[in-house]
């Protein structure tokens, strides 16, 4: 009996010792979950990651057109970068107006947004989502990290060098949107740890950062004409630089027009020209346009979102416009051209023809007496852009 107790005790002690030994090592990295500790054992991850930094401008999550969203607290389709950017650039101006009543949107039309506005907040978070992605990419691709992984050959290293320049370009692009729309914003780089509250910075500081970053990466980006479609090239960085310099007096109080000119001339010297057909810029084959320097590519099959061009095309269709005419599966009855913009065209100006007026008796008026009244067909007071019809659209670096 005594012997058996001893036996049981020693077995228990052995088990306990094993248990203690097994469970105190908490630094084990997860094996079953893809994390930064294991995913880079696949060298293809670097390309997939930089593609994701680009995708931050084009999609809203990891499932298309919606699902597994990048940012939360707002409808995922509403949160898409290009959609928010377009709304912030256009709705407060005399160009466009949106007819939906979602909380925060009517205030965009009338320039009455407050700090609690969900759309303005989402734009801000989108910018810092892009900054965060780019920073994480840069943290994961330092020479020290690449050396420690031991599976990065010379060819991949050269690719990664260019990827890093592209991540910095995309970060500079979003920072430029940030200082343009929000003024003084925090400057967060790959040197700042995740989880630490950032220190406030100034518009001037962030501007200086954008300029120095762009100047630093231009040598690492493909020269004019040698870039890959969809990816940043040296002229794209030059164009962004020109935009930043052009507005330097607003951002910092000091004008830099000469530098803006130099940067713009560097772009003009490249293989770009004004597209002879303005309309071509808005068609599905606009990848052949000579005017586009940096596109945010959308694709009906591979790159789906409720934002981006899907939003621009569907939302600007309504009234007596027919969705089938524009090759889309439904009008969203949202965006309308303001009369102030339409009336800028002198009578006879060809460009006015690109806006939908309808044909009798289904004409639509230029005036918009009621922003939200889309059901009022009998009055036909609706006008919109014929920019519908392209399944893909590119923005020029503007």
């Amino acid at each position: 009996m005594n012997h058996r107790i001893h036996q049981a005790l020693s077995v228990a002690a052995a088990l306990l010792a094993f248990a203690v030994a097994a469970c105190t090592n908490l630094t084990l990295e997860p094996k079953s979950t893809a994390t930064d500790a294991n995913i880079f054992s696949d060298p293809g991850t670097y390309k997939a990651f930089i593609a994701r930094v680009y995708a931050g401008l084009a999609v809203s999550g990891q499932q298309g057109p919606a699902g597994n969203a990048d940012i939360r607290g707002i409808d995922e389709g509403f949160s898409q970068y290009l959609r928010l950017f377009w709304e912030h650039e256009e709705l407060p101006t005399d160009e466009a107006i949106i007819g939906w009543g979602d909380v925060g949107l009517p205030e965009m039309n009338t320039q009455q947004w407050a700090v609690s506005n969900g759309f303005v907040g989402a734009m801000y978070y989108r910018i810092y989502f892009q900054v965060g992605m780019a920073n994480e990419f840069l943290r994961q691709t330092t020479d020290a990290k690449l050396d420690s992984r031991g599976n990065v050959g010379a060819a991949l290293r050269a690719d990664i060098k260019q990827y890093r320049a592209e991540a910095r370009f995309l970060r500079a692009l979003s920072y430029w949107h940030g200082i343009d729309m929000f003024g003084d914003i925090p400057l967060i780089t790959e040197a700042d740890l995740v989880g630490v509250v950032p220190q406030p910075s100034t518009r001037t500081n962030v501007y200086d950062f954008i300029v120095s970053e762009l100047n630093a990466i231009i040598p690492d980006l493909p020269p004019p004409g040698l870039g890959t479609y969809g990816r940043a090239s040296a002229p794209a960085a030059q164009m962004l630089l020109a935009h930043a310099y052009l507005n330097a007096s607003v951002y910092t109080g000091t004008a830099h027009y000469a530098e803006a000119l130099t940067a713009a001339q560097a772009v003009i010297a490249g293989p770009y020209s004004i597209d002879p057909s303005y309309r071509h810029l808005f068609l599905a084959d606009n990848n052949t346009s000579p005017e586009i320097i940096f596109p945010v590519i959308q694709d009906g099959v591979h790159t789906q979102t409720w934002g981006g061009v899907t939003f621009l095309v569907h939302a600007s269709c309504g009234g007596s416009m027919r969705d089938t005419t524009y090759g889309i599966s439904g009008c969203w009855w949202g965006l309308r051209l303001k009369p102030e913009a339409f009336n800028r065209y002198a009578s006879g100006d060809q460009r006015a023809a690109s806006f939908f007026r309808g044909t009798a008796p289904d004409t639509q008026s230029v005036a918009i007496p009621q922003v939200g009244t889309f059901t009022d067909r009998s009055n036909r007071r609706w006008i919109t852009s014929t920019r519908c019809g392209s399944a893909r659209m590119a923005i020029r670096v503007r």
């Binding site: 990295e29 979950t33 500790a37 707002i74 978070y125 910018i127 590519i297 790159t303 009244t373």
Partner: protein, 430 residues
């Protein structure tokens, strides 16, 4: 008395280990000589307990960025190929144990040969390192939400219970009645938001319908998840006026202002700023019940038996999100109209007023959760029993939504009434 030391790989590298001591002390007063003379008293025990517990009930591997592959519809075009993307998720290398220090004083009692028993408890629990998934500052992480140790909170309360055999005449008249009563009172208070959060309050409670509209708050001095609302103004008929809210005194003057219409009051340092905005929101009630009362009874009379359970919550407030989201005429004028909520007949709102405290309602209730009646008998020598049960018999409440208990954490988005279930049964023993 015990001490345990736990490690969890869910936490950040520097914060994986926690030490959790506990002790308890009991004193059976009823066995002391000075209480021996009391004949009615059958049991009396004083308990004192202290314990620290750790909570790690949240997702794994918070210290690592989890990488999620994109699907075939979120690819990026590089040249003529489409690249599948991969996204690192939000991570928090600093996350640590949420710990609760609990102190409890209790008294167990019994009278009349344990015919009446019960307990009285008073507790004080302080939780530090409270883990919440909260909006984080832009640029603090890889998304705009993350799990964080945000602050400290305290729960204090008393719990009372009483079990009694009120009637026991099985052998004489055949009647017996056992009943139990419970009452619990809790007071919750957020004590502190850590300075590392960079904010003085954290918004929670995302409502349906709004575009990122949060209507609850974690704010020191207030119960957690207090509603954070604008104070609605009403007209002479008692109808809420759309977009009209009380301008709270938020501007601090250097000297107490004299009595004047623009002043918050004579001698007050704060006055309204004349603008209704985010600053005019104030904590307004909270979803946790102040009192939870319970009663269950078991009655028998010869071969008949009846049992039921009653439950009441007092002082639990609910945000009626169904009303705030759909109780507006804009629901019928938009491109795809939807059914209106009846509250629009009272409010007449033409646009949603998500932040109005009109929608925060007292959802106190009394509910008969279930009642069962049974009859036991013998048929041709076989013991048999017939039963009938009703679940969710009735609810008495002043709440305007369909179910005062539907609001998860105080947000009610439920449009289906709780079902009432009738069950009949016959059991036969062979």
């Amino acid at each position: 008395m015990s001490v345990r030391r736990d490690g969890s790989s869910r936490f950040g590298p520097a914060n994986q280990w926690g030490t959790f001591p506990a002790f308890s002390l009991g004193w059976r007063l009823s066995q002391e000589s000075f209480l021996q003379g009391l004949h009615g008293l059958s049991d009396l025990k004083l308990r004192v307990g202290y314990g620290k517990t750790g909570n790690q009930s949240f997702g794994n591997y918070q210290q690592f960025a989890k990488y999620v592959l994109g699907d075939a519809q979120t690819q990026m075009q590089f040249g003529n190929t489409f690249v599948t993307t991969v996204r690192p998720g939000a991570y928090n290398p600093f996350i640590q144990w949420e710990g609760t220090n609990a102190f409890d004083v209790g008294l167990d009692y019994g009278f009349g040969g344990q015919r009446v028993t019960g307990a009285i408890d008073w507790y004080n629990k302080q939780t530090s390192g409270l883990i919440f998934t909260v909006p984080v500052c832009a640029g603090c992480g890889l998304s705009n939400f993350n799990q964080q140790n945000i602050g400290k909170m305290r729960n204090r309360g008393i719990e009372l219970s009483l079990n009694a055999a009120l009637l026991d005449q099985r052998k004489t008249s055949g009647l017996s009645w056992n009943a139990s009563f419970t009452a619990a009172h809790n007071k919750n208070e957020m004590l502190q938001i850590y300075a590392s959060q960079g904010v003085t309050r954290v918004l929670t409670g995302l409502v349906a319908g709004g575009v990122g509209t949060f209507i609850q708050v974690l704010q020191p001095g207030q119960p957690i998840n207090s509603f954070y609302m604008l104070q609605q103004k009403y007209d002479a008929q008692g109808k809420p006026i759309q977009g009209s809210y009380v301008d709270q005194p938020t501007v601090k003057d250097t000297v107490a202002c004299p009595a004047s219409p623009t002043c918050g009051g004579p001698g007050r340092l704060y006055r309204p700023d004349g603008v209704i905005n985010q600053d005019d929101r104030r904590p307004f009630h909270d979803p946790a019940p102040k009192w939870i009362l319970g009663h269950s009874s078991y009655l028998t009379y010869r071969n008949f038996d009846v049992s039921f359970t009653l439950r009441a919550y007092l002082g639990n407030w609910v945000y009626n999100n169904v009303a705030s989201n759909l109780g507006t005429y804009s629901e019928v004028t938009r491109a795809s109209p939807y059914n209106l909520h009846a509250s629009v007949l009272n409010t007449g709102f033409t646009t949603p007023q998500y932040l109005s405290d009109y929608y925060v309602e007292d959802a106190s209730f009394l509910r008969l959760d279930n009642i069962t009646a049974g009859y036991s008998f013998n048929y041709r020598g076989q013991p048999m029993r017939i039963t009938g049960t009703v679940q969710n018999v009735f609810t008495i409440t002043g709440y305007s939504g369909v179910d005062p208990t539907a609001g998860l954490n105080g947000l009610d988005n439920n449009i289906y009434p709780r079902s009432r279930t009738f069950t009949g049964g016959l059991s036969v023993k062979f």
